[in-house]
């Protein structure tokens, strides 16, 4: 059991679990009933799956210029996809799309000029 074999095993596990999370997020994107809940499902595929998959690829490469590029992709995805989801949710709420559910009274958090 050399260290290299363990690292390859962990990388394979991370790639596999990342792929499974991506499919789970995709199924959620199909089956959820509302725009806002679909945003939740979409953000799983956008943040958790890249974290695991690119983490697995970084473990496969070692330490190289390629590692810096992969980490740059990962950091950029982690910073920007939550911003895009938040902007979509805010735009949808301000355009009048009503969330499903009993208590949909707006508590004023999104239409205040903050």
């Amino acid at each position: 059991m050399s260290v290299e074999f363990i690292i390859q095993l962990i990388a394979a596990l991370m790639l596999g679990i990342g792929g499974i999370f991506a499919i789970i997020g995709g199924i959620g994107l199909m089956r959820f009933p509302d725009v806002f809940t679909r945003l939740h499902a979409g953000s799983i595929t956008d943040t958790l799956a890249p974290l695991l998959i690119i983490g697995g690829l970084v473990l496969l490469v070692g330490f190289d210029l390629l590692t810096f590029k992969l980490l740059a992709i990962l950091f950029f995805l982690l910073f920007t996809t939550p911003v895009a989801s938040h902007a979509t949710a805010r735009a949808a709420l301000a355009a009048g799309v009503q969330p499903l559910g009993e208590d949909t009274r707006d508590t004023g958090a999104s239409t205040s000029k903050s």
Binding site: Q8, A11, A12, L15, G16, G18, G19, I20, A22, I23, G25, G26, I27, L29, M30, V35, R38, L39, G42, T45, D46, A49, P50, I53, I54, L57, L60, L66, K69, L70, A72, I73, F76, L77, T80, T81, V83, A84, S85, A87, T88, R90, A91, A92, A94, A95, G96, V97, S110, T111, K113
Partner: protein, 95 residues
Amino acid sequence: MDTVLLGTILAVFTTMALSLWRALAGPSVYDTIVGVNAFGTKTVLLVALISFFTGHHDLIDVALVYALINFIAVIAVLKLVRQRDLATSGSQDER
């Protein structure tokens, strides 16, 4: 390791197909935007995985550029859908 990469590539393909289905069948325009955003992020992952699978490691730059462009395109789309003009700024959130 090649089979694990191939399995992950197939999983990412499946997610792309599912998000494309949501982009086609969404009742409002925001469903389409959610689908396109997810499709774009999956394309970044797909390009990174393919560059490892074929061994040509210099294709990683395509993934990097695309991650940047996807974000800017989604924000521009949201701004245009809300305010019909790319040049206005500020919080005009109420109707």
